[in-house]
């Protein structure tokens, strides 16, 4: 008997009871659909995070003050005050760090900001002019903090577009307006271009002030919260990381890297961390979806067992007329594979619709992975074979007399 005939016969059999066939494949539809949707959701959010992090600059290194260890006591990372303006200056001018291009010492803190009519709480970053180049910040209107501002400790501020809207609304030009930060009056001299991003920190909700002003006038501190550094090229990132590391160890009079009171991150490190987090998350969700696929497979097995029982007489007749075990097994396996394969096709369509909706709601790009679709096809056919095997075997092993006698 040719396969084409068996397949067309199987389709005829399956269309006799459409409701049952539909319900049987529903489990597979939901399983495959959710796997596809979750994989593409994971991939599109990963892409979004990656492009966001890459927009920060791919040759960027960030030095953060680390935990301080004194005997058994270890303080939280970032809480120490060991990173100073002198450290930043040394990275730039000591001559021991040769692979670094720009150095941007920063002091960032959270503060209440008010105008005559509104108030908000936002991130204040003390910066020097190099900041724009290091962090790829562009000015939409007005100008950025200058060297003169930093030296003179001027009370000027550059605001992010989100902050500008929060403080002044859509229609007012913020340049020239006054705001109060920590009850001190600052004049706005510029607005930055939106960087976008919905990640862990909104890069557009921020106020930039001169570094000296932030440290001395606003927060009364003499240390830095971070030093951002650009390497001369992406290929010397590791060298830059090492050179800065040894310089700071020496300056902080520490012997060993394990004692370091600072840490150096590259964008790649952050990217890797975020990728592995979203990857784990995607895997976890897909695992949950795979369980529903398993349940769907058991549903198929159940229906096939019912079918075998119902068609005992037919199977007996077929065997009496000369059907061999292999023929019967093939017939029933093809039926179950058609069921799961149809489920797979509808599941892929459902998954694509779901991930399209996700992409609209979460405003990420619509990614459909070709591999995921191939996998879904293979998995659905595989489930048909796996869960159809036992019922098909049972059918093939029926004794023709028992089966013919069966009422």
């Amino acid at each position: 008997m040719e396969y084409f005939e068996i397949i067309s016969e199987a389709i005829t059999t399956l269309t006799v009871n459409k409701l049952r066939t539909g319900l049987a494949i529903l489990g597979i539809v939901i399983g495959i659909g959710s796997v596809i949707a979750l994989i593409s959701l994971g991939q599109s959010s990963q892409q979004a995070v990656q492009s966001q992090i890459q927009s920060l600059g791919s040759n960027l290194l960030t030095v953060n003050p680390g935990s301080m260890r004194s005997g058994p006591v270890q303080t939280a990372r970032g809480s120490s005050t060991t990173l100073t303006n002198a450290d930043a200056e040394a990275i730039k001018t000591s001559g021991k760090v040769t692979t670094v291009e720009l150095v941007s010492p920063e002091y960032s803190g959270q503060s209440q900001v008010t105008t005559s009519s509104t108030n908000t709480n936002t991130r204040i970053i003390g910066v020097i002019p190099e900041y724009t180049e290091v962090h790829k910040v562009s000015i939409a209107s007005g100008s950025f903090i200058t060297e003169t501002h930093v030296r003179a400790m001027t009370k000027v501020a550059v605001v992010g577009p989100t902050t500008a809207t929060t403080l002044f609304g859509e229609n007012t030009d913020p340049i020239g307006q006054s705001i109060r930060i920590n009850n001190q009056v600052f004049t706005i001299i510029g607005v930055t271009v939106a960087k976008g991003g919905t990640g862990f920190q909104n890069q557009d909700d921020v106020i930039y002030v001169p570094l000296s002003t932030a440290q001395k006038q606003l927060f009364g501190a003499s240390h830095l919260t971070s030093i951002a550094v650009t390497a001369k090229s992406e290929t010397v990132m590791t060298d830059a990381q090492n050179e800065i590391g040894y310089l700071l160890l020496e300056r902080h009079k520490l012997k060993d890297l394990t004692d370091a009171d600072f840490s150096i991150f590259s964008q790649q490190d952050i990217l890797n961390t975020v990728s592995s987090v979203t990857g784990t998350f995607t895997a976890l969700l897909s695992g949950v979806a795979a369980i529903s696929l398993l349940v769907g497979g058991i549903g198929i097995m159940n229906i096939m067992l019912v079918t075998v029982t119902e068609r005992t007489r037919e199977i007996g007749l077929r065997k009496a007329l000369g059907a061999k075990k292999k023929t019967i097994i093939t017939q029933f396996l093809i039926e179950s594979v058609i069921l799961t394969f149809a489920g797979g096709v509808f599941g892929i369509i459902l998954g694509m619709i779901l991930s399209y909706i996700f992409s609209l709601v979460m405003s990420v790009s619509f990614v459909i992975s070709f591999n995921a679709i191939l996998l879904a096809f293979a998995v659905s056919a595989g489930i048909g074979l796996l869960f159809g095997w036992y019922p098909a075997r049972r059918a093939a092993n029926l004794q023709p007399i028992e089966a013919l006698r069966y009422e």
Partner: protein, 241 residues
Amino acid sequence: MKKIIEVIHLRKVYQTGNIETVALADVSFTVSEGEFVAIMGPSGSGKSTLMHILGALDLPSSGTYLLDGESISNLTDDELSEIRNKKIGFIFQAFNLLPRTSALKNVMLPMAYAGVEKTRRQKRAQEYLEMVGLGHRLHHTTSQLSGGQQQRVAIARGLAMNPALLLADEPTGNIASAQAEEIMEIFQQLNDSGHTIVMITHEPDIAAHAKRIITVKDGAIVSDLQNKKQIRSHTEIKQDI
């Protein structure tokens, strides 16, 4: 004459727990090519068991069964399937056609299992259906045919592989008597053209159409006689029912 069936000291015992039931005690007989044999007996006489063994649907507990010269013992399921396919044409009491399937496809089924090429299958199926007077019902599905017509499809299916033996199990049990006469006429015509037929029945009226009648009781043959008063059926097979 070539022996189609040769049964020697056939015994079949069913074991249910500790109780042994002897279905066939000691049965020996032969059927030669071109015979039309009716096997009669009341229910429980062992004639169904005998039919299953003759049909290679079941194996004897002991004894020898040669079908068309081939020994039917120590065979696997698949080997038995192949023998049934090639050597035996079954005609069942309940017709046992595939539901929702056309007459043509039903007749084609055994040939499909034998691997006959499709267009040849179709041509032969059509010829056999015409032979049993159903040339105008090729594409009717099972449920669109009357009982007598269904049994004629089953006969065409039984003939499809040109088997050595046509084995009929109560072939008229489920159909009206007028149509039963038609079926008997087809059997006699097939027998006249050389087909060997073994028919299991408990109705003397039907058995009377055969040339030889074997009577079975309590698992043993009690009589084996040539039927000198064979009834010849002459009905006009109605083509357009």
